[in-house]
Subunit: 285 residues, 2 copies
């Protein structure tokens, strides 16, 4: 596996390859990331991972400074996983001049965007830059960052990028907690509490799948339970899988998305739920 730090080295290493599968990351890799590498390997070659903690997508007071930088360990994992090339630029290489051009995506002020102003503009902008550097045929993103994945799929479609987005399922610990680099921030007590988020989302999804259409009540129940156990809730929201807007009552494919803080750590998770047509008919009666 080769490690490069500049766009010039990257392009030289890639040459005329046309089937590159690309996995952008912020490093501090865990088995969730490795599952994305596995998915990339099934589709394209060479497999390229990027490691860059993007300042553009962090707000003031967020965890840009303390976000873990673990390049050597990351490279060992990527090598073992069969990654061919790692692109780890520094900030100077990514932003050799102040970034004055941005991608303005829709839904940037919704859900996580309402709590992280500029976050999705920063994500879309850096991903577009990385796409233009790597020029992959495939790019892999995890479903844990559901809104991010949704926005990036839209960007590829609306900017006519010649790239296929592959979606990686969320990897979870045995107790259901979605794997995240930020889990490392949790104290022992918080780590024991953290699986509640997914447990509640699963219960909420079940309620919807068996016919509940009062989405506000479902959201409120999850929020209340989290708050009762010491969480600070940013949002719990039932959305349409189609457009990430509030679902119509007859909508069959929705997703419950949530973001909440345990102590100093912000956790996000989501679960898709498909209500069958039987439930819809029952609803209509």
């Amino acid at each position: 596996m080769q490690l490069v730090h500049t766009v010039t080295e990257l392009r030289a290493a890639l040459g005329e390859h046309r089937d590159t599968a690309f996995v952008p990351t912020m490093g501090n890799l865990h088995s969730g990331h490795i599952s994305l590498i596995d998915l990339a390997r099934k589709h394209g070659s060479p497999v390229v991972a990027s490691i860059f903690v993007n300042p553009l997508q962090f707000g003031i007071g967020e965890d840009f400074e303390r976000y873990p930088r673990t390049l050597a360990a990351d490279c060992s994992q990527l090598d073992a996983a069969g990654c061919d090339l790692v692109f780890a630029p520094d900030a100077q290489e990514m932003y050799s001049q102040p970034q004055t051009f941005h991608v303005q995506p829709p839904l940037a002020d919704e859900l996580c965007g309402a709590f992280r102003p500029g976050h999705f503009q920063g994500v879309a902008t850096v991903v577009l830059k990385l796409f233009n550097m790597v020029q992959p045929r495939y790019a892999v993103f995890g479903k844990k960052d559901y809104q991010q994945l949704f926005i990036l799929k839209g960007m590829v479609r609306q900017f006519n990028l010649p790239i296929v987005i592959l979606e990686g399922e969320t990897s979870r610990a045995d107790d259901g907690l979605a794997l995240s680099s930020r889990n490392a921030y949790l104290t022992k007590e918080e780590r024991a509490e953290a699986p509640r988020l997914f447990r509640l989302l699963r219960e909420a999804a079940h309620r919807i799948e068996v016919g509940e259409r009062d989405f506000t009540a479902v959201e409120q129940a999850v929020s209340d339970d989290l708050r009762a156990h010491g969480w600070r809730v940013d949002y719990v929201s039932v959305r349409s899988q189609v457009n990430l807007l509030a679902p119509k009552s007859q909508e069959s494919d929705s997703v419950i998305i949530a973001a909440a803080h345990l102590g100093r750590t912000r956790l996000i998770d989501n679960i898709e739920c498909c209500s069958g047509s039987i439930d819809l008919k029952r609803q209509e009666i």
Copy 2:
């Protein structure tokens, strides 16, 4: 020469070509456009021209509806000029869903942007889309649209697009008027008056080149003369070639840019001026 209307046809026609030289246009071609095709042919192959009147870059009350559509005549000219492929999509092909992702460029509210809100966002967005469709190695833009060229060069650099921008000199009629599709809107009397714009810009450039550093006075003189001859002036502005901002008094490379209306027709033009170091020294004394 091949004519295609869809991205699918375009990509099939281009295949694995890696040296494409691309000339985006809005059609209604004149010899200025053909000079851009000539420039493209010197650098890359195949030469691809696009013809698309982009609604996204026209404001309310502008000339989107009456902008001349002359596809057959355009294709004849392109064929004769040695263009290999014409991509002429319709609005449905370019915007198969409402465009909710945009490129937000800097300087979008300056100069022409101050008078055409959203114009440069629309230009940058459609050009990014066209770039991703055509995937050229070279792209050609004329210096007549100086601010557009400046913004697109910035976009390529800041989004790390693997594209080289080639700059075409402004083509002019014998009397100095910059060639433009919009010249066709001019009445006979307006056409006779129109060369005044470039004549005044040339005089202004001469004043700066021989040492004048009161740029406001230079701008005002051009505006006054235009207004005295029936023009409605949007702006006349001396700017730095480096960043298109107001130049510092010691700046050596500037550009005078102007936009003004003759009757129902909005004309733009510009001229670069280089003040030598001798003048700078004289200035410092």
